[in-house]
Symmetry: C2
Subunit: 651 residues, 2 copies
């Protein structure tokens, strides 16, 4: 069967009966598939313009739409040659994920250099060093082994002793030495014993290992790659290990999103035959793309990359390394391991030299991963006295409370609302997403701003927060999120999901259909923010503290960077504290990974942090449900928690 996808104009030959979503994936055609192919999210709608298919209609498609050829790709089997149109709402847009936000918001944003100085005791001392070494050729009077000759020369010129050697190097050793006229560049790594590998021990002497040998003098070309492997997107930076520079940055969607939007649907997919391998290959493919982009942008040779560091949540780390995440999803939620020894990057399929090892940040628990450990490391919270709330807002919101003496952490499943999921016209923060919103308090007419300033396509998470805050302050919705149906505006109207507000009529939108926000959407956001609030409130209670005790709030994560603090406080997502207590650190994973690449000593800190953290399972905490229910109002059932917001509303 030949299937042609439009507007891509891509063709693929498949067997009769093949799943249409799978065919699209294989053809390289991107279609959103939020639910891992379970048919419940309804995001993967396509229009079959020609040809025959079968499969159920599913609850997300009306009979009328079905009659016109609309299908959920994941539910559809191919029975003949097809012509398929992929509507723009169903596609992803890579271009804009790397946008930077210029708008000034409340809270401090700091520069890269400033960020690196958040952590104390940081010094420039990479674990990997390159050394140029020249030797005298062997003679009959001095015919020691090639390895002995090399190690003796390294000892003489650079003082390193007791060097061990990667056995893979031995095969090429005699040829490199001779072809290079006994002038070579050695890459040495200072590794630790137990601390890097063990699950319990912290200390451990360092040893020096010879991991690579290059002909001639290449000591000046010495790079490292750091990665933030997120559920939705992957970011990478190329670092110069000789002079502490970030040479390039690149990012892309994690192509695992074809197999599901969130970690749970990824785990579900990983349990299908071949699923784990596909997920691993997807992540590796994405990273390889980033690596190539980093090389192209900086004009460097990838064979000169000496090391890689990755931070990701526990599930992403498992999938990247090919560890089965099955038991992360099943109660009592156990990961395979929190500390994972460095692995050879090339063995995973990463396109770097075979000597390159990938270090992954240690995790704390199934839903508190290396990304959080990395962010805590980068923000220096574990070194300072002020009581800090560290918060990474997202589908899987992660929360840390503590300081240099102790830290507690929890993950709370906020649902996908912050990333546009579960929202009727929700979408990721890409071109066409409504990200800012004002409402005229007389006419109740909207002012919209979209990313890329184009016709609106949908609503992204930060836009949703802004909308709900505006609606609430303008009295369009009540504290329980219901529209005031008595307002004099035709934009509030009954819809298929209850009452809705029309943000843009079809003639103004990219899709040609009305874009609305529904009471169900608002309810989803309220549930999401309530989960986050209940998370940190419960964590605070678990250590006998209250919100007023917080001296600092650190907001991490790509999504966090785009939040308007004031409006997030208005809806009760962030605690009501003076604006100068909020600090945005952006991508905390990359920050920590960069620090560790540049500074060998920080590795111990990463592991110390993960051991310091006490994980709290919120679902097991007696207060959590009460806190959650109390937070299911705007801003909160108890106005005293948000005195400023309550005050403003009264005015």
């Amino acid at each position: 069967m030949l299937v042609r996808f439009q507007p891509h104009n891509r063709e693929i030959q498949v067997a009769k009966g093949e799943n249409l979503l799978r065919a699209a994936m294989e053809a390289g055609v991107y279609i959103q598939a939020s639910c891992g192919g379970e048919g419940v999210c309804g995001k993967c709608r396509v229009l079959v313009e020609k040809g025959e298919t079968d499969g159920p209609r599913g609850p997300k498609i009306s009979e009328e739409e079905f009659g016109r050829g609309t299908r959920q790709a994941c539910q559809t089997r191919i029975l003949s040659n097809l012509e398929v149109l992929v509507p723009i709402e169903s596609t992803l847009d890579k271009r804009v994920i790397a946008r930077t936000r210029e708008r000034v918001s409340a809270g401090r944003k700091v520069s890269h250099q400033e960020l690196e100085s958040l952590v104390l005791g940081w010094c420039f001392n990479p674990a990997l060093r390159k050394h140029y070494v020249g030797m005298e050729p062997p003679t009959i009077k001095d015919n020691r082994s090639d390895l002995s000759r090399l190690l003796l020369a390294i000892k003489k010129t650079h003082g390193h002793e007791g060097i061990s050697v990667d056995s893979r190097l031995l095969k090429k050793l005699p040829f490199i030495l001779r072809e290079a006229g006994w002038k070579v560049t050695a890459t040495l790594v200072q590794t630790r014993m137990e601390s890097q590998l063990g699950e319990y021990q912290l200390r451990g002497s360092r040893r020096v290992k010879l991991v690579n040998l290059e002909p001639g003098d290449t000591a000046q070309e010495h790079y490292s790659i750091v990665l933030d492997v997120g559920t939705t997107s992957v970011w990478g930076q190329l670092l110069d290990l000789n002079n502490r520079k970030t040479l390039a940055e690149a990012s892309d969607y994690n192509s695992q999103i074809h197999f599901g939007d969130d970690v749970i649907s990824r785990i579900v997919y990983s349990q299908k035959p071949g699923g784990l391998k596909k997920l691993q290959e997807s992540a590796i493919g994405t990273i390889n793309g980033i690596i190539r982009e980093l090389a192209a942008k900086s004009g460097t040779d990838l064979s000169r990359v000496s090391h890689m560091t990755a931070a990701g949540n526990t599930v992403m780390t498992h999938l990247l390394l090919g560890l089965d995440p099955k038991y992360i999803r099943e109660s009592p939620y156990t990961p395979v391991a929190n500390f994972i020894p460095p692995v050879r990057a090339a063995n995973l399929g990463l396109e770097v030299g075979e000597h390159v090892h990938l270090y992954t940040f240690p995790s704390v628990a199934s839903y508190v991963g290396g990304d959080i450990v990395s962010g805590i490391l980068g923000s220096g919270i574990y070194q300072r006295k002020p009581l800090t709330l560290y918060i990474d807002i997202g589908t899987n919101g992660e929360i840390v409370i503590g300081n240099a003496d102790w830290m507690v952490t929890a993950a709370c499943s906020a649902g996908p609302a912050f990333e546009g999921g579960g929202i009727k016209h929700g979408m990721r923060a890409t071109t066409g997403a409504i990200e800012d919103f004002r409402i005229d308090s007389n006419s109740f007419e909207p002012m919209l701003l979209t990313i890329g300033m184009v016709k609106p396509k949908g609503i992204c998470g930060s836009g949703l927060i802004n909308m709900v805050a505006e609606f609430f302050e303008a009295g369009v919705i009540s504290p329980n999120g219901k529209f005031d149906i008595d307002l004099p505006t035709r934009r509030i109207r009954p819809g298929s999901d209850g009452m809705e507000y029309v943000l843009a009529y079809g003639e103004d939108t990219a899709t040609g259909a009305d874009i609305v926000i529904t009471e169900v959407d608002i309810d989803n956001l309220i549930r999401a923010k309530a989960a986050m609030y209940a998370g940190y409130a419960t964590l605070l209670q678990s250590v006998g503290l209250a919100i007023g005790n917080l001296e600092q709030v650190v907001i991490a994560g790509a999504f966090g960077s785009f939040i308007d603090v004031e409006r997030a406080i208005t809806i009760g997502l962030l605690p009501e504290l003076p604006p100068d207590r909020f600090l945005f650190i952006g991508n905390g994973s990359l920050l920590g990974a960069r620090l560790i690449s540049f500074c060998n000593e920080m590795l111990d800190d990463g592991e110390r942090i993960s051991r310091m953290m006490t994980n709290v399972e919120l679902s097991e905490s007696p207060g959590f449900m009460d806190n959650y229910i109390a937070a299911l109002f705007l801003p909160h059932t108890n106005g005293a928690e948000f005195p400023g917001v309550s005050q403003r509303l009264k005015q």
Copy 2:
């Protein structure tokens, strides 16, 4: 083209023009090929009974033989279907290499248990331990990672802390734990840091690493395999690591002999395209056969093998690990490395679990290998005061002189005479080889004893020593190895290689042809023994000592075990010393490998020994040529070196 080999009745289909020796190898038909296919040894003769071939006649085949269809297989290309007869002289016989010698000879032979007690400070303490561990399943109150749970349980039950883990184990960890109901057996290894891996450092703390996990309680099944990888044959033993027992022994020819008899021809072959890989695969194939035989003999499951240790000369070690031996052959004779980190056995193609590491004994120099280090370790010479000569007689004779304070070592190329090479009717010590010999001093008629007591096929090395000693004592040959042609016997006659003595006429032999020993053969043996003698004499001189200073002579090696000390003294191969100073230790490589497998601490000793040894390049020693020339007589030019022999001859 179809080629059928007789008497094996094996067929193989090959392309026209294929080399006949290669076809035989591929058909699994063993043909001797001493010279690596260079056409110079003439051992690979076959009779082409039907069909067409081409290729040169070569100097080893007469025109008449060539006319009858005799060919050197290595020089012959296949042009049509063939019927080929492989004569018995050209085949190898595996059955008898494992024979044990019952005959009492001069010098002490000691039992296994006695042998293991030669070394001081030996204790039963294997590097690898298996521990049964039971755990409580995870609960929501205790949902630490699977790895943490396991390591904590090991810590509680067995006291090990700071355990690192093989990252390959992680993939299967969650499944093994659950399928086994949280009852598993862990294999832990105590490894050292620098000392095992580094080229320079000796000390280094040990660390514990988890390398394997099996469901249930398998702690009682815990084995190790030790190997002596010799140029000619490979020996293996299966050890029980729980109770210090040797459960089985097996041996086979190193199938690398298809590619050449000695290390030099192997190196030559390794430089052909694909040659190194083939040599490695051959050795691995031989070892796999031995492994299977060990398992079958002992009824053990190979998946329970935890570790492997191999000792071999430097070239064998290089080939086994796939390291290119090219520069070992070229002046100034440098090996790639003397200390090689343990490698994963499965990566080499060995049929054991993927967690099994192969430790190879460190070498000293290009021609003084791990087999010698292993033998020195096993014999305890490095721990004791008596001045000892350690001698491993063979094609590459290896000599060590020293004691607990110092050791010097040298390799001397004796040539293949001791293994039947370069001898007109020479053969290995297998069925049909004449191994013992007496001559009637009146009739000069011979008494022959062959291995397996069958019709003679040829002469093995120990037989040759016995013959030449008998001839010499009976006055059949003069001190320069020439036959007394005036003796009243028709057995001494002119032959194609000068004068010869007929050991057996055609009617009495397995081949139907006369078996003779020629003056050229005797000359080859004299050159070989002169090289060995000059080797230890020169080594002694290099440290200002003489033969009379030797307090002990340790004879190692399979060949050494079959030497009659008295007769070896008669021809001047061994020094004339009282018989009780000679000690036979048999296979020194296996002895040392066994000790190390059973006793972790001995690993350090192996490396200490290899560092203690000073290698002397005999070819660079000024006295060597003089010593060699002086030794080209029976027993020696200077009768005072062998007063007893001289005395006896006078009588």
